[in-house]
C-alpha cells in the first residue's frame, strides 16, 4: 500500500530547529534544517543520526528544501551538509539564497568569536554549503529528478519566504514553512492555489490566537515610542536584521514624516544597512504598494533612519535605536541595553528574562544589572493566526493536516478545531515520531483516442442513465501503459480473434409450417424487445441484433418445431435471454 511518512527531527510540538523528513512515493525530502535558540549543546541542531544510523545522508535524501532565511529554519545547514556530510541539492528561493549565508556567518561569529565555541562550522563551510544550493523561482516547477517535482508559493513571512509543494505523480505534500495570511507594510500575504495535496504540513506558532488588527498594534507601538522620546527617553528596539526590522523602519519613517519629528533614529550598522539593500534589489518579493511606487520612491531608502555608531549610545537626549540581535542575548543590542537599562525614562523591548518580569539580571562577570527602564513586549512577527491557518487549509484543500512549529498544548486546540470545523484528519507528531498516511494514487495510462471518443459519444446519448461500462485491453510494456480497444490489442499483438459461437435447439410445440412458426417467433420477439432491432429476413430466419433464429422441422415429430438460436460469445446476454424466453413457449396464436 503506498503511503506518505512524516517524521519531524525538529519543530515537532516545539518551536525551533525546524527539520521535517517526508517520504513520498519512494522519495525522501528534508524540509528545513534549522537550529534551536534555546540550546547551546547538541540539542541546538536536529538529530541527524536518525538518518545516518542507516547510511549516508546523500544516499537517503533526494533533496533538501529551505523555506526561508531565519536561523531556526536554516541554521543547521552548514553543519548538516559539511560536517555530517550531504552532497545532494538544496533548494531555496533567490532572496533566501542571497541572505541565508550572511545570517549563518553572523550566527557563526557569535557562537565562535563571542562564546568561544569549538568544533563549530567555519566560514568556508558556509561557502561550500551554499554551492550546493539551487535557486528556485516562485511557481516554477522544478524537476528534482524524473519523478520528483517541487514548486514554491509566496509565504509573506520574510523576504523570500516560500511554501513548497512536493509532488510525485498524483501524490503531493505542501509544507508552509512560516507564513502570514495578512499583508503587512512591506510584504504581501501568503497564497496557494487549490492544489489538493494529500497532506499539508503547517506551522502553528499562533495556533490559539486570533490576533487583533495589525493597525492597533502599530498604533500602540508608535504611541509608546512617541511618548518615550517626547519625555526625552531613549528607545531600544532589539530586532533581527532582516524581516520585522524593515517593517518597523517603514512604520517609523512614515510616522516621523507625518509628525515632522526630528529625534534621530538609528539602525545598528553593517548587516542591517546591507539588509535594506537586499530589500531594494528584491522589490518583486515585496507587497503590491511598494512594487508600484518603487520607481518614484524606494521605500527602503530611509530619510530619517541613519547608521548607528557605538559612540551615539552615550549621546544625551532622546533617540530610537534598532539594534541586533532581537533576543537581546548578545551583540550590540545587549551592549546598549546595559547602558540604558538603569534609566526609567528609557524604553526597550524583548528579552526572555526581562520579559518574565525579572528586574535584576546577572551579567557576565557576576555584575548585577538593575533594570529600571520600561520594558514592552510587542509581537510583530508575521505568522498566521488560527484564523489564517484555517484559511490556508481551506485554500489548499488537503486530505490531511500535520502541525509543526508550535507548542503541543496550542496544537491540540487547533487540531480539534481543524478536525471539527474542516473535517480533515490532523496530526501533531513529536520529534522523532513518525506519522504514516496511506495514499491511493490513481494510475495514469494512455487511452487510445478512438476508444475514448467512442465511449464519450455513447455517454452523451440522453438515454445513457445507467453507468456504461467501457471495455478495453490494457497493454503493459515496460513502464508504458496503454488502454486500447480489444480489436486494436489483438491487431497490435498479431493475434487472430477466436470466435466462440453457441447454437441452442429450442423445441416448440407448433403444428404449423416452419415459415409460420418463424413469423410467430418474430411477432412475439418484436413485442417484447421494443428497443432492439428485430428483423424477419426473406429466407425465413429471424434476427435480433446479431442473434440468428431459424425454425426447422425434425422429421420424426411433425407437432414439434426446432428453433435453432445461434449467437456469438459477445452477444451472450441476449442469446441466453432469448433462449430462456422461448423456452416458456410462444403466446397463443391469434385465431
Amino acid at each position: 500500500m503506498p503511503e506518505i511518512r512524516v517524521t519531524p527531527l525538529g519543530a515537532g510540538q516545539d518551536v525551533g530547529r525546524s527539520c521535517i523528513l517526508v517520504s513520498i512515493a519512494g522519495k525522501n525530502v528534508m524540509l528545513d534544517c534549522g537550529m534551536h535558540m534555546g540550546f547551546n549543546d547538541d540539542r541546538r541542531f536536529p538529530d541527524f543520526s536518525y538518518i545516518t544510523q542507516n547510511g549516508r545522508l546523500t544516499d537517503f535524501l533526494d533533496c533538501v528544501i529551505i523555506s526561508h532565511f531565519h536561523l531556526d529554519h536554516c541554521g543547521a545547514l552548514p553543519y548538516f551538509s559539511e560536517m555530517v556530510g550531504y552532497d545532494g541539492p538544496i533548494y531555496m528561493t533567490h532572496p533566501t539564497q542571497a541572505i541565508c549565508p550572511i545570517l549563518l556567518e553572523d550566527y557563526r561569529k557569535i557562537a565562535v568569536d563571542k562564546k568561544g565555541e569549538a568544533n563549530f562550522f567555519t566560514s568556508q563551510m558556509i561557502k561550500d554549503c551554499m554551492k550546493k544550493v539551487v535557486a528556485v523561482h516562485l511557481h516554477q516547477t522544478v524537476q528534482v529528478d524524473d519523478e520528483l517535482e517541487i514548486k514554491a508559493y509566496y509565504a509573506g513571512h520574510v523576504l523570500g519566504a516560500a511554501m513548497f509543494q512536493i509532488k510525485v505523480g498524483s501524490e503531493s505534500v505542501v509544507y508552509t514553512g512560516d507564513y502570514n495570511m495578512t499583508p503587512d507594510r512591506h510584504l504581501g500575504a501568503a497564497w496557494i492555489d487549490k492544489c489538493r495535496p494529500n497532506l499539508l504540513i503547517t506551522e502553528s506558532t499562533y495556533a490559539t490566537t486570533i490576533r487583533d488588527s495589525k493597525r492597533c498594534r502599530e498604533r500602540d507601538f508608535l504611541k509608546k515610542v512617541h511618548e518615550t522620546v517626547e519625555r526625552g527617553g531613549k528607545v531600544l528596539i532589539p530586532v533581527f536584521a532582516l524581516g520585522r526590522a524593515q517593517e518597523l523602519c517603514i512604520l517609523l519613517e512614515t510616522f516621523w514624516e507625518r509628525m515632522n519629528l526630528k529625534v534621530p533614529i538609528y539602525f545598528s550598522t553593517g548587516l542591517t544597512e546591507k539588509a535594506n539593500h537586499y530589500y531594494k534589489l528584491f522589490i518583486p518579493w515585496t507587497n503590491q504598494k511598494i512594487r508600484k511606487t518603487f520607481v518614484q520612491r524606494n521605500m527602503f531608502e530611509f530619510k530619517h533612519i541613519k547608521a548607528f555608531d557605538r559612540a551615539f549610545a552615550d549621546n544625551p537626549g532622546p533617540m530610537v535605536v534598532f539594534a541586533t540581535p532581537g533576543m537581546l542575548h548578545a551583540g550590540q543590542s545587549l551592549q546598549i541595553f546595559r547602558k540604558w537599562a538603569g534609566n526609567e525614562k528609557n524604553m526597550g523591548t524583548v528579552g526572555h528574562k526581562i520579559l518574565s518580569g525579572q528586574r535584576k539580571l546577572e551579567m557576565e562577570g557576576r555584575q548585577v544589572l538593575e533594570v529600571k527602564m520600561q520594558v514592552e513586549y510587542m509581537s510583530f512577527s508575521a505568522h498566521a493566526d488560527a484564523k489564517g491557518i484555517m484559511q490556508l487549509v481551506g485554500q489548499a484543500e488537503p486530505e490531511s493536516v500535520l502541525l509543526v512549529h508550535g507548542e503541543a498544548k496550542k496544537m491540540e486546540f487547533l487540531k480539534q478545531k481543524i478536525e471539527q470545523e474542516l473535517r480533515v484528519n490532523c496530526y501533531m507528531p513529536a520529534n522523532g515520531e513518525t506519522v504514516t498516511l496511506p495514499t491511493s494514487p490513481s494510475i495514469p495510462v494512455g487511452i487510445s483516442l478512438g476508444l475514448l471518443k467512442r465511449e464519450m459519444a455513447q455517454g452523451l446519448l440522453p438515454e445513457a442513465k445507467k453507468p456504461r461500462l467501457l471495455h478495453g485491453t490494457l497493454i503493459m510494456k515496460d513502464s508504458n501503459f496503454r488502454l486500447v480497444s480489444s480489436e486494436q490489442a489483438l491487431k497490435e499483438l498479431g493475434l487472430a480473434e477466436h470466435q466462440l459461437r453457441f447454437t441452442c435447439r429450442v423445441h416448440l410445440h407448433d403444428t404449423r409450417k416452419e415459415q409460420e412458426t418463424a413469423l410467430r417467433v418474430y411477432s412475439h420477439l418484436k413485442s417484447v424487445l421494443k428497443d432492439h432491432c428485430v428483423q424477419h429476413l426473406p429466407d425465413g430466419s429471424v434476427t435480433v441484433e446479431s442473434v440468428l433464429l431459424q425454425a426447422a422441422a425434425p422429421s420424426e415429430d411433425p407437432g414439434t418445431k426446432v428453433l435453432l438460436v445461434s449467437w456469438t460469445y459477445q452477444d451472450e446476454e441476449l442469446g441466453s435471454f432469448l433462449t430462456s424466453l422461448l423456452k416458456k413457449g410462444l403466446p397463443q396464436a391469434p385465431s
Partner: protein, 608 residues
Amino acid sequence: MKLYCLSGHPTLPCNVLKFKSTTIMLDCGLDMTSTLNFLPLPLVQSPRLSNLPGWSLKDGNAFLDKTELIDLSTVDVILISNYHCMMALPYITEHTGFTGTVYATEPTVQIGRLLPSPLKDAVEVSTWRRCYTMQEVNSALSKIQLVGYSQKIELFGAVQVTPLSSGYALGSSNWIIQSHYEKVSYVSGSSLLTTHPQPMDQASLKNSDVLVLTGLTQIPTANPDGMVGEFCSNLALTVRNGGNVLVPCYPSGVIYDLLECLYQYIDSAGLSSVPLYFISPVANSSLEFSQIFAEWLCHNKQSKVYLPEPPFPHAELIQTNKLKHYPSIHGDFSNDFRQPCVVFTGHPSLRFGDVVHFMELWGKSSLNTVIFTEPDFSYLEALAPYQPLAMKCIYCPIDTRLNFIQVSKLLKEVQPLHVVCPEQYTQPPPAQSHRMDLMIDCQPPAMSYRRAEVLALPFKRRYEKIEIMPELADSLVPMEIKPGISLATVSAVLHTKDNKHLLQPPPRPAQPTSGKKRKRVSDDVPDCKVLKPLLSGSIPVEQFVQTLEKHGFSDIKVEDTAKGHIVLLQEAETLIQIEEDSTHIICDNDEMLRVRLRDLVLKFLQKF
C-alpha cells in the same frame, strides 16, 4: 490541430493555435514599420517638414485588420513572448469581445508598459490614427496574469502551457504547449549570446511534434559583437572631434548592454568626462526596473545581487554622474546640457519622441553622428525626411536574436518532428538571393506560412491520458502474453470532468429487488450495449477432451474434419466444432449445460 497566421511580419508574429479544444493566440505583435510612412512629429511646427512633398499618409490603418481569418472573441488565452510582441494587445482584448486570459512574465509586462508606441504616445495628433486610449492600454494590461519560467499552467484541464527562458530580453520567453501525448514548441525572439538575460532554455524544447519558429535576427549578416565594437569606436571618434553622438533607441533592452560596454570603454578611451544623456519619459523607470529583476538575469548579474550590489553597472554610471537621465528635453536637461555629449533617446523610427528634436538640432553639422543600433527600421527610410543631412550616419544594427547558423544547430539539437516558420525564412533574403545560407535548412523541410493562411499541422493525436482508480487497478489481472508484454482486460465506468478522464470500478450487480410488483418480461431484457471481451487463442483437442472428462462428461467422441475437429458428447446430445480460430457449441436449450461448456472452453482462451 490548426495554425491561423495573422501576421506576415516574422519578428512581430501573431498566430492562433487550435489545439485540443483550446484556442491559443501566440503573441500579438504590431507592425510599426508603417510609421515610416508618416512625417516626423517635431517639437515645434517645422515649415520644412510640413512642406515636404510626397510624404503623404499612405495606408495609415494598415494594421488592425486581423479579424478576417478567425473570430477573436473565441481566443481562450494569449501567450506573450517578449515586450516587443504585445503592442496589439489592447486592440484584441478591448475591441474583439475577448474574454480570456493573457499570460506573460513580470518583466515583460513592466517593461512592455514602458515602451513607446505611436498608438499611445501620439494619440493627440489628428493625422495619426488613434488606436486606443491609455485606459484601454491599462485595461489590457490588467488582463495579464504573471507567470514565471518553467511554471506549468493548466488550460481547462486539456492543455498545459509553460514559458521558458529565451535569452533575448528581460523576461522574454518561448512557450511549450502540450498535452500528455503531443507537444508544440513556440520559439519567438531567442538568443544564444551572453548578454544580460537568463540564458535560453534549449533542453526543454526537445521532443516536440511541431516547433513554430519566429523572431530570428533581422540582420543575419551582422555580428552583434562586431557591431558593438563599431558603435564604440564611432562614438569615440565623433566625441574626440568635438561632435555629438545621437543614438535613437528603445528605452529598454540593448541600451542596457550599450551602457555596460560604455562603462568599460569610456575610461580606457579617455572619454570619462563626456556626459551620457538618456532622455525618455520612462528613462528612470527603465533603469530602475532593470535593477530589480535579478531573478531574470544571467548568472553573473544574479550573483552581484547576492553581494548585494545592483546587477547593472549603469547604477554606478549614474552615481558618478557620468550618466544622467531625464524625462524630456524640457526642464532640468536644458540647464545641465553640455556638448559634446552622447544622447540616447527615442523613437528609433525618427518619427516621434525627442529624437526628432536632436535630428533637427544636430543634422546640419558634419561633426555630429547619428548611430543606429535598433534593427527594426530601415535607417535610410528613417532618415529620408531629414535629407539633406550633414551629420554622419552610422548603421550598427545590434540584433541578438538567432541567426541561421544558430537555428540549424538548435534544430539539430532539439530535433522537432516538424518545423513551421514564416515563408521569409524558407528562402534567401530578396536582396541577397544567392545567399543560400540565409535560410532555414532542416529535414523534413520547414512548413512555411504567410499572412492570412491557415495551416493544418501534420500530426494526429492518438492517445489521451486517463487515470485508473486504485480500486480498479487492484482488480485487474495482468497476463503475460509475450516476454515483457502483459495484458489485462478492463471493464470500467468512464467519468469525464473538466477534460480529465477517470476509470472507476464497475458497479456491483444490483440485488434482485423483491418487490410485490409483478415483473414485466421486458424488464429483464439485457442491455445489448454491455460489451463482452474478444477472445483469442486456440483449443488443443486432447487437453480439451481431458478437461471435459475431468468435469464429468463421458462418452466423448472426437472426429477429425478438414479444418479441425468435432467433439461429440453423445449423452448430452451436444456437438462442439473446434477449428483454429473458432469454436461452435451446439446443444439443447439447457442453459446450465451451455454455461458449463462455455467456461471450459474459455479456460483455453484469452480475453481481450
